[in-house]
């Protein structure tokens, strides 16, 4: 995409409190696609990638968030076909959300300050849509001590502040 112009990201200054046991930072830009299809096979044939079949499962950059819905979060420049005339829907949502990386031994605890699901028992490699208090997020467990949190752009500063508050 254009090198002429500067990207503009929501106000999400990094946080790494002294001995807070958690660091919070904004991830690099990504290509994001919403993929929808009744039949995962049709989708796989179209994009030439295997997609996870179970809700909550991930496969590489692809997370299955619903019975007919997937989210791809890949490196910038990744382009998917539009899928015209096929019973699928592929929509570029690269800039709809940003990703907050919550890392460190207290990462799960800090997220659970406002996220009501049991992240202690949320396996590495799982991803799900849920909420942090009233704000919708997608939680993706990258490692034991690292979570990726996808949040719509305009909610990101609030979420970041809430996480910092919980970490402090």
């Amino acid at each position: 995409m254009s090198d002429l112009l500067l990207r503009n990201e929501p106000d999400c200054a990094g946080f790494a409190g002294e001995g807070a046991g958690v660091a919070i930072r904004l991830a690099e830009p990504m290509a994001r696609y919403s993929l929808r299809a009744r039949d995962a096979q049709v989708l796989e044939d179209l994009i030439g990638l295997a997609v996870p079949r179970a809700i909550g499962a991930t496969l590489g950059d692809m997370a299955c968030l619903g019975p007919d819905g997937w989210l791809l979060c890949a490196s910038v420049g990744t382009v998917l076909p539009s899928g015209s005339d096929l019973p699928v829907a592929i929509t570029d949502v690269s800039e709809r959300a940003v990703r907050l990386l919550v890392e460190g031994p207290r990462a799960g605890e800090v997220l659970m300050a406002g996220c009501p699901i049991d992240l202690d028992r949320f396996a590495v490699g799982r991803a799900t849509r849920t909420v942090f208090e009233t704000v919708e997020i997608v939680v993706w467990r990258l490692r034991d001590d690292a979570f990726a949190v996808e949040v719509w752009r305009s909610f990101a500063p609030w979420l970041r502040l809430a996480l910092v508050h919980a970490a402090g």
Partner: protein, 953 residues
Amino acid sequence: MTGFRLQLGGRVDRSRTVTFSFDGVRYQGFAGDTLASALLANGVSLFGRSFKYHRPRGLLAAGSEEPNALVSVTRGPGRFTPNLRATGVEIYEGLEAVSQNRWPSLKTDLGAVNDRLGMFLPAGFYNKTFMWPRSFWDKLYEPAIRKMAGLGDAPTEEDPDHYAATYAHCDLLIVGAGPAGIEAALEACGTDKRVVLIDEQDELGGGALSDPAQWAWLADSVARLEQAGNVTLLTRTTAFGYYHDNFIGAVERLTDHMTQPGEGAREKLWRIRAGEVVLAQGAIERPLVFAGNDVPGVMLASAARTYLHRHGVAVGKSVALMAAHDSGWHDAFAHARAGVKVAAIIDVRSEVDGALRVEAAALGITVHLGSSVIGVNGRHRVNGIEVCVGGRGAATRIACDTLLMAGGWTPSVHLWSHSKGSLAWRDDIGAYVPDKPNENVRCVGACSGKWDFGKGQVIDMLPTPRSPARIKAFVDFQNDVTAKDIKLAVREGFRSIEHIKRYTTNGMATDQGKTSNLNGLQIASQALGRPVVDVGLTTFRPPYTPQTFGALAGHAKDALFQPLRKSPIDGWAEANGAVFELVAQWRRARYFPRGRESMLAAVNRECRAVRSAVGMFDASTLGKIEVVGPDAAEFLNRMYTNPWKGLEPGRCRYGLLLKEDGFITDDGVSARLAPDRFHLTTTTGGAARVLNMMEDYLQTEWPDLNVWLTSTTEQWAVIAVQGPLARGVIAPLVEGIDLSPDAFPHMAVREGTICGVPTRLFRVSFTGELGFEINVPAAYGRAVWEAIHAAGKPFGIVPYGTEAMHVLRAEKGFIIVGQDTDGTVTPDDAGLGWAVGKKKPDFVGKRSLARPDIVAAGRKQLVGLLTDDPAEVLEEGAQIVADPNQAVPMTMIGHVTSSYWSEALGRSIALAVVAGGRGRMGEALFVPMPGRAIRATVSGMVFHDAEGARLNV
């Protein structure tokens, strides 16, 4: 230390002296003291004044059930806290506490006149009077009653503290860390269960803390729990509510006990989801009901033992016991063994366990069986009691400075009841105990009715020779509810315990009846001559003890209260002096004043620029939905009022969305990008609602359709460039799109790039001028905005805000859903009949448009309204009448929905809904304002460029 502190014993740290003050007097206590124990140690017996009669009151209890000893604590600006129980306030260096509900002082309180007048102020007295003369109520009586209200003073400053909150999950949650709770935790030690053990006190142990014999076991057990690894221990934490599916609310108090609170949160709200819950909340000792049972120095026997053993404080120099239960005897023995004089043991029972009598004799304690206390001497402190046998005959006086009460025990079934577990009545203990659970929960220890305190006699009131009507025998100490109040309620026909509670306020004080409910129930049951179970039980409701608003609000404070959504271009607007308005969750630039320019001047300037040159507007907050799939057109055709199948790719169409009831709920211009791909727009406030509504129809009614919806509101920043010079401004920046009028007509959409950024370029207009709405990926919104702004400089481009946008669209008669419509407006009402597909067999809301009232004549219709005086700008929301001289209530035939000064027309304009409006063209109507009526004429809705010539250039 002298006074009542024992030389030895207690769990307080005698090496750490703590200085604090109460009502301005400085005292010293030890680390580990509560305000209550420290004041007792200093010989203080008077702690507060009761709510209604302002009677002097001392300590009744040692725990969170305390009804009397309420104090206020101040610790610097904004940190004043009323109504704290002295039994729960841990002392720290410099603690400042003051008593409440008294004037001028605790010792001399003028409010105590109510006590003298008590006979005229029975339960419900205010229902019966203050009615005459009628005019006195508003002016005199009611203000006077309100003046008497309340206990502690109200806070007056903003709380500087902040609060935390969290969710937590565990397999086993144990509430109450007394012996039973600790045993339950020990069983789970070292298992793979995640265990959480909660206790409201500052250290684990519960009742064991008052029993030195258990201290060794306690220390060992706590050590094991701390080392276990799978057990989380939460002290100073109160589980206050038990909600659906084993969801428990608890508040942890983090800083109130500290000398230096520091930066951390004051309290933390724990929202715990538990697999299994074990309730080990223990039991609360019951007071006995007799004349004078509220004199300072009369207290629960178990509380006295807690002060004795846990704090090393004797509650008196000479202690008597009034018992109906064995447990009190043991408490009295403990005092005797600690060297405190026990003046007498009086027991209402004529027979007690022989072992008790033997031990009493061994300790040299006089025993009066089958007797009762019928009076207490002293006002600010007990100095003696009157005892008589069987409540008859002559009374003997026994000198003492303290009277202990042992009335038996009430299991704490509060949380059990919150969880909707059922209760069973037990006559032998005169209390309700847990019966059938409603969740995965069990009760252990005293709260299940099992204890080793011995036996007792259940009694409603101690026998007395005096007329029950003449004595004040208290049941609810804080609210000053006496036995005779409860009997009066029954006499007046209140039979349900809920009625009796509400009529007398028994159990409605800040202790929520922990010590009064069961006695009240017994007395009511006696008075009604019906068994307790027939009288019922008042419902237990959260919270178990009062919890701060701050903790329950959690982190939702200040900037975290609610997200404020900002567009990608918001930063530029802020830097350029925009004045904002709040719309739904968003803030939007309302206008861009230059220097000290007024709103009107700024808006006029912004409008002039758009009409004569070019303006730019941030439309990013508009909702956007990408509709994709082979059946996309079919789906939209079913949702919207107008036809969509025929729309060519590359073209746009105005869409009107109804609710199934036929009323307008949203609108927006949408584009067909490809045969199977649409880019919808919705109103800013409607985005989420519309998406949910469309998903509902798609998933529930038409699951056969191959089409999917994706919110793209935040994917795209939207920049509207509007005005005769708009094309010239963007032309140099746009690549891959032929902008010429023929190649790119009004209501068309093209994809290309602008400033090298991919764009979905709409040629649409909400202003009536040549216009483009430029969609670019959100991250580039601001940069593209700035590039256009720079490119527009030579053209005199002006950024405009929502206010100018409103004026410009009103000049063209374009409606704003939610302003010109209000949820009761149909397409025809709004003059949008043209947007309803006449030939369509169905669409959402169509059937409702055929209902009798919707097709009836005389409905309110949206029209234009022009004031006779062109300078007169009507007030939005102003009502419209045909005859301004009619009497109130007037017949209103409509109201003004939009009204502005139109710079383009050099006069005011307005939109209004008027009954039968379109049939009234040219008719003069009136807008009555205070003191005058404004004359205006009904007109069409399009005030500017009616033929739309300016659009097609």
